[in-house]
Amino acid sequence: MGEVMLSVEALDVTFRRGGDTVRAVRGVGFDVARGESFGIVGESGSGKSTVLRAICGLAPTSGGTIRLKGQPLPDPRPATFFRAVQMVFQDPYASLHPRHTVDRVLSEPLAIHGFDRREERIEGALRDVGLGPSFRFRYPHQLSGGQRQRVAVARALILEPEVLLLDEPTSALDASIQAEVLNLLDRLRAERGLTYVMVSHDLAVVAHMCDRLIVMQHGAAVEELTRAALSAHRAATDYTKKLLSASEGFTPA
């Protein structure tokens, strides 16, 4: 592996409220090289989003170390972290401010991080995700689900980060827009050497986008695979085998 961009070691995350304790992540670890695309798949509720949120300092981490370019990350994360690492959240409704127009969603991070040529960047970012200029002054509730998702992707890309954490970035998109967004992400990675960590429940999307992946179940990483192994349906654990066969479509019981 080349230079390690992001490393997660023995990560533990525990949520507590009243008598309820949820050990959402148990000893998860992986390294992602600069320019690599790393996938996380797994059961719903297995801790995939929590891993990404922990990298951003947004989860109650109870153990383990997360490093960016070899340096352990301070808590809370400094502003320079969010310049280098951007996240696209799973739930675009919750992550877009309801009273901010698309224009404001995109221009605010540019202003905060002191970017020039803002006008040009906003138009470019919207074009990249297949939204025309007519969407620029709309509010989130005036957009369809997939349009909101694309605004969230545009917001992450506009800061030109080195690392993108993508939580189900295309699960709300139809096949044609999904293909466009995946091609865009692929192209940016090739052109700018970006590093991705991508969560998806769609094995075909992960096979297409990621060089390596882990499979999570119940808070733990149960298996690590290469793209070649996934494509050849060479899985070691029963759970991964089940995922592969369920991906074929619906079969009546």
Binding site: F15, R17, G18, D20, V22, E43, S44, G45, K48, S49, T50, Q90, D91, Y93, S134, F137, R138, H141, Q142, L143, S144, G145, G146, Q147, R150, D167, E168, S171, A172, L173, D174, A175, S176, I177, Q178, A179, E180, L182, N183, D186, H201, L203, A204, V205, A207, H208, M209, H218, R227, S231, H233, K242, L243, A246, S247, E248, G249, F250, P252, A253
Partner: protein, 277 residues
């Protein structure tokens, strides 16, 4: 097959900066006690079609139709009281953004109990057991904890399943499910579909299944409507989705990545302005 829902010339319009924008433009179909899929491009009007059927077009949007008939009831003329009787009890919708449609300051359990509207000879404990059983049926691992949890304490897929549970406890005659399994891993997805399938086959529920997942729709539904720019451009048997005629539908099938690997970059669609006419 008995017809449950008839829709003719449904239109939904929103005022925008550029003038009125018609986002659903003359949609028509009938639904029996079957699984009808709606696929189509992002922004093509799938969700707005579903909402309009339930009278939930968000203001200042306006919905009109030549016919909008649910089991002999003219929905266009439905009073507030009629809607209260119908929604939840006889027709329900699983919204595309589950966390948005769940009440953020109320526990999942409390919301489920409200949906159940227990009473009529049922004790609180019995209703609670029914709610927990439904959470278990949608493959929630620890239903007791989820029952006590608030929406923000759930993962994306758990929120989606809580929402489905809520819509199903009342056993409606018509369910509109808008991307109901988009946040679920495939093994859980299959279990949720089995529940929906059972309700259609055993209880004769009518299901409108909005999804962008073509593989899923072609294996799960009976019929499919393909929408493009606010219109139905093609209607086919779900199993025949691979033999679609419309260039949009055919293009869609080519855009899908494959587990076994394929071309890079993925094929995309060259949209033709004529499709929107």
């Amino acid at each position: 097959m008995t017809t449950l829902l008839t829709v003719e010339d449904l239109r939904v319009t929103f005022p925008t900066r550029q003038g009125p924008s018609e986002v659903v433009r003359g949609v028509g179909f009938t639904l029996g006690r079957e699984r009808l899929g709606i696929v189509g491009e992002s922004g093509s009007g799938k969700s707005q079609t579903g909402r309009a059927i339930l009278g939930l077009t968000p203001p200042p949007g306006k919905a009109t139709a030549k016919v909008l008939d649910f089991d002999g009831i003219d929905l266009r003329a439905a009073s507030a009281a009629t809607w209260r009787r119908l929604r939840g009890a006889r027709m329900s919708m699983v919204m595309q953004d589950p966390k948005f449609s769940l009440n953020p300051v109320m526990t999942i359990g409390k919301q489920l109990m409200e949906a159940l509207k227990f009473g009529a000879g049922e004790t609180r404990a019995q209703a609670r057991a029914r709610a927990l059983a439904m959470l278990e049926a949608v493959q929630i691992r620890d239903p007791e904890r989820v029952f006590r949890a608030y929406p923000h304490e759930l993962s994306g897929g758990m929120g989606q399943r809580a929402m489905i549970a809520m819509m199903l406890v009342t056993e409606p005659d018509l369910l509109i499910a808008d991307e109901p399994t988009s946040a679920l891993d495939v093994t859980v997805q299959v279990e949720v579909l089995r529940i929906l399938d059972r309700l259609v086959r055993e209880r004769g529920m009518g299901l409108i299944f909005i999804s962008h997942d073509l593989r899923l729709v072609s294996s799960f539904c009976d019929r499919v409507l393909v929408m493009y720019a606010g219109r139905v451009v093609e209607e086919l048997k779900a199993a025949d989705l691979g033999k679609a005629q419309h260039p949009y539908t055919r293009g869609l099938m080519n855009c899908l990545p494959k587990i076994e690997g394929g071309v890079r970059p993925l094929p995309t669609l060259e949209r033709d302005a004529a499709w929107a006419r």
